[in-house]
Symmetry: C2
Subunit: 188 residues, 2 copies
């Protein structure tokens, strides 16, 4: 039996869980507190307002993004391959934070949108430095956005390597082959 996480972390995890499972409307302070196993007052000790709670999620997202950038740069198969491979939802901490935050991006909170814009900009820069061509880099970015969007809207599946897309399956291998095809036209 593992030691319980600190209340603050449990609250953040509960917020993510509710955002993903039931959407922003259901992720009330009451509900988050209940899932985290604390009272509403207890929650508000760690995050003084709902805005602060969202701020905590955004902060976590940015931290995990930094780690992702580092891994992306060092990947033996290159940034583009890394990006496509990791855009297929794998249930990592980062994936969870992204999908949770995506559900908030449609709201009024501009901080979430701004965080996404920053992360996107860095991803694009890294992919471009890998593939060379800007149109191909953008296409790859859009593929990744599409993958995350599908998870955010239609939910996750059990298989980590394949995610459901309108009853069809997107498998990673075929997708990587298509990406190779895209790159082949511009390779020097």
């Amino acid at each position: 039996m593992t030691t319980q996480l600190p209340a603050r972390d449990r609250v953040l995890n509960a917020y993510e869980e509710l955002l993903i499972k039931d959407g922003p409307r259901a992720a009330t302070l009451d509900a988050v507190a209940a899932v985290a196993g604390v009272s509403k007052g207890g929650l508000l000790y760690h995050f003084k307002s709902k805005e602060a709670l969202t701020g905590g999620l955004v902060h976590k997202l940015k931290e995990l993004a930094e780690l992702d950038f580092a891994a992306m740069e060092q990947d033996p198969e290159g940034c583009a391959s890394y990006y496509v491979r990791t855009s297929v939802f794998g249930g990592t901490t980062f994936d969870t934070a992204i999908v949770a935050a995506m559900r908030l991006a449609q709201g009024e909170d501009s901080t979430v949108r701004e965080a996404f814009a920053e992360i996107h900009a860095t991803w694009y820069k890294l992919i471009l430095s890998d593939v060379g061509d800007s149109a191909v880099a953008r296409a790859i970015m859009l593929l990744g956005d599409g993958l995350y969007y599908n998870v955010a809207v239609f939910g996750t599946t059990t298989t980590p390597q394949a995610t459901a897309l309108d009853g069809q399956e997107v498998d990673l291998e075929s997708l990587l082959k298509v990406v190779t095809l895209m790159r082949s036209g511009t390779r020097s």
Copy 2:
């Protein structure tokens, strides 16, 4: 000076406008009624509940989708080209309905998600019949999803032919070239 639209249509348009501009949370019955230029009671005469209002939007979306399918099948450049071209936000009635509904898709209302799943399935079928290869068809679908997702999250831009993506521009021509590249690998 054009004749005023019927109140029912004005309400639906106001709902879309608020969903796109300020998100689902801001699209309250009060706000929708105000934008539409009717009272809350007046709104509730046409749509008996908020659920019914969303139902009206979904119905409109499905109707416009049928027209889109027909245009897609008849396009001289093929379904895939049509899909990519029209996935770049152009401000059409259909585009507006899609983006507005996308903002609702993250919520608890499963009817919106189901409508999207249906529309997606038909698009996929048509694109597959055009390009032949399932992996390429899926990649094209994901590109379109990515384009719409970017509009839904980051908002529209002024230029109809190019939409902003993290400070960069996605221009349609380059994207179509990349799609051609994808297809070239599987062409018989």
